[in-house]
């Protein structure tokens, strides 16, 4: 069935809440309003005010409450609205949620999901457009998921809710209205398994979030130039599926990492370092990085588009991989 990404997220929540009464959702404007993007619409009616709760604008309390609820046996799905607001509760996520089990021992389980809507578009400006995965990749103890298709979003959110570890689940705002095939009924996608979104032989593009779509567009362009691009979507950033990337690299020997957050100390920086450490002898050139410019996201929509990589910029980076000075 063709479903939007937004509907797929909602369906995962609904099905998991029906399956397990320990699952509950809370956050800003998730009840009557059904979340500002409409993800949780209808859930208050179905599950009642105990399990679908509005909070005050209190991000630190949302995260702290989710942690306490998880430690005492519930499976909360806490919503932080914009991914940018994870910063407001950074200490709660970084120090408490991620490290709680490490600091207190194996008697403590933290089965919670933090959902947030991330990414650029629509001129939301510098404080409502950020991708935050790379910031939290620095927090051992978290699982970080960034799905890019309706199918992945549903299957991974279900796995996240069933996981006994804290998960940061990053939904991309620009993807909410995109459609894709989603089977009816229950299915899950394992955490930590990458997906080859398009097979190819010349250059591997590891793309994250919205950049998966852009990389697929680039691959289409490059196909016409005779360049075959393999697009890999890690889906889960922590834990990261290295083997799928390495397998691809053994075939293509060229890799470009495409992400939407700032280039400096970003996902590309980490992946490039990791790949050259472990796969140096398979590389036939330096690793390419495509990322947002190191600048806050501007409000002006034309400039916003300029700051965030598009298919053209990814294609350029792929061509550079194969360039020769003959």
């Amino acid at each position: 069935m063709q479903t939007t990404y937004l509907q797929a997220v909602g369906a995962a929540l609904q099905e998991e809440m029906r399956r397990d009464d320990k699952v509950l959702i809370f956050g800003e404007d998730v009840a009557e309003f059904g979340n500002i993007f409409g993800v949780t619409r209808g859930m208050l009616e179905e599950f009642g005010p105990q399990r679908v709760r509005n909070t005050s604008i209190s991000e630190t309390a949302i995260i702290g409450t989710a942690l306490g609820a998880a430690v005492t046996g519930l499976r909360p799905v806490a919503e932080l609205m914009y991914a940018d607001f994870t910063m407001v509760a950074f200490s709660e996520i970084f120090h408490c949620v991620a490290k709680w089990r490490f600091m207190h021992g194996e008697a403590y389980k933290v089965p919670l999901v933090i959902r947030c809507a991330m990414g650029s578009s629509f001129g939301a400006g510098a404080e409502h457009s950020n991708c935050v995965e790379s910031l939290f990749m620095h927090a051992p103890g978290l699982t970080i998921i960034s799905p890019t298709t309706p199918y992945d979003a549903k299957g991974l959110l279900k796995s996240a809710i069933r996981s006994d570890n804290p998960v940061l689940f990053c939904e991309h705002k620009q993807l909410y209205q995109t459609k894709g095939e989603v089977p009816d009924g229950d299915y899950t996608i394992p955490i930590g398994v990458a997906d080859v979104k398009r097979p190819g032989t010349d250059v591997t593009v590891v793309a994250v979030g919205l950049m998966v779509r852009r990389a697929l567009e680039a691959a289409e362009l490059l196909q016409k130039e005779g360049i075959s691009v393999e697009v890999i979507d890690p889906r889960t950033l922590v834990p990261f599926d290295k083997e799928t990337v390495f397998q691809s690299l053994r075939k293509t020997h060229h890799v470009v990492v495409a992400e939407e957050s700032n280039k400096t100390a970003g996902i590309g920086a980490e992946l490039a370092a990791m790949i050259q450490e472990e796969m140096y002898d398979e590389l036939d050139g330096p690793i390419g990085r495509v990322a947002a410019l190191d600048i806050p996201i501007p409000y002006n929509i034309a400039l916003e588009k300029y700051v965030i990589p598009d298919a053209g910029r990814i294609a350029e980076a792929v061509r550079a991989q194969l360039a020769r000075n003959c």
């Binding site: 020997h253 140096y280 002898d281 398979e282 590389l283 036939d284 050139g285 550079a320 020769r324 000075n325």
Partner: protein, 519 residues
Amino acid sequence: MSVELVMPRAGLTMVEGTISAWTVPEGAAVKKGDAIMEFENEKNTIEFACTHDGYLHITAQEGDVVAVGAPIGYVAESQAEYQALCGGAAPAASPAETAPPRSSGAAADCTELVMPRAGLTMVEGTISAWTVPEGAAVKKGDAIMEFENEKNTIEFTCTHDGYLHITAQEGDVVAVGAPIGYVAATQAAYDALCGSPDSAPAAHPAAAPAEVPAAAPAESQPVPAAAGGRVRITGLARKMAKQHQIPLAALRGTGPNGRIIAQDVKDYLEAAAKQPVPVSAAEPAPQAAVDEVKQIPLTGIRRAIAKNMYGSLQEMAQCTAAVEVDVTDLLAYRQKLVDDQDFLGCKVTVNDLLSMATVKMLKKHPMANATFDGKTISVHSSVNLSIAVAAEAGLMVPVVKGADRMGLVELHQAMKDLADRARDKRLRDGDQTGGTFTVSNVGMFPIDWSTPIINPPQVAILGFGRSVKKMAVVNDEPKIRSMMNMFLTFDHRVFDGLEVGRILADMKTLVENPELITL
């Protein structure tokens, strides 16, 4: 029963404490909770609260630095116990340090020759050359070998009459006291000595195992046949070239910046396949010029310099600060002194003036005229100025003793004498020790500045760069002036930027007002 008192841990970062004062006397009756001592940690002065009731016996004294958990004294439960504690002195005297008896062992007809200790700091020597051949008849007092220690080349004089058997070869680094050869009293004894397979005299069955001869340098390894310079090549292309045994120099790089990429290896293989003579593993591929490597063992002076310089950077918190100064007036002043050389009796150099200025500065900044052993900073009242001399054999740092009591002419003469002898390898024992501060003038080279390395246990070194004519702003007007950099490396463990700032400010004042130097 008596209870040990230990230096307490007072704070996250505390690893040791310094006893500031005992506030009760030795033998005093003390109670649990009494403040009986004050100590300092890295942040505060803290009271030590006694942990038990009884009589205090102090073992760590005021000023002692004691590790956390190490004893500082005892509390005896009773007066009698206290007496016993004090009377008993240190528990169980440490076993007398008796060296294990060493059998002289030397057979009547064979005498071992060992690397001699030649100088305070010598721990090993490098054999430069044997001046008599193996088996030669030698006499006591003959110079038969030359060796280098960390400072000089020295002759080894034979200690006995007889026939020489050499065991340590030229270039070998031998510890002081370790064998370098033997003198056999008779030809027969010599033959016996050489005949024995392990070359050790039979009379020495229990002798320490003969020094393992330094392994001959391995057959020079085949090096990548890339004549001169680095090869730009990707990891994959390098792996492929190795698999196909293709010398990198034979590959043409067509990647960005001329980098060799996988395609270049493929192209090469394809081209080679079309050649009438196929490339095979048995027949080496086209050879590029073979790089010849000459291996130079690190010996003598070079070895000592390497050790000192490396050790210095390992052990100190070195930091360098620099200032550019206007030396136009200094050069003019020096010219004036040169014009007066007949009167002075010597030709004063710029270096003399800079050294004199340094001595002046050090009298004002005694913290820089100091040595530090890691525990205690020793500030010296007399300035013993070490001067870095670039000799062909390596860096020499002779010391002008009592430089602060010298006038300019005297300083000039002392420095010239030391520098000449350093270049001629004629320095004597003691010429390079006892320095309290070093100057290093690299102005004869096109060097503007460097970061000199401190000569331990000193705590600072001052360098001077070349003087260059530059456009400088004088009274808001552009002027051509002679400018020079001065750079001070200091041990940040001993003093801080504040002192460095003041030192460089004073040096600047002195150098820019040269009449102050000789005042």
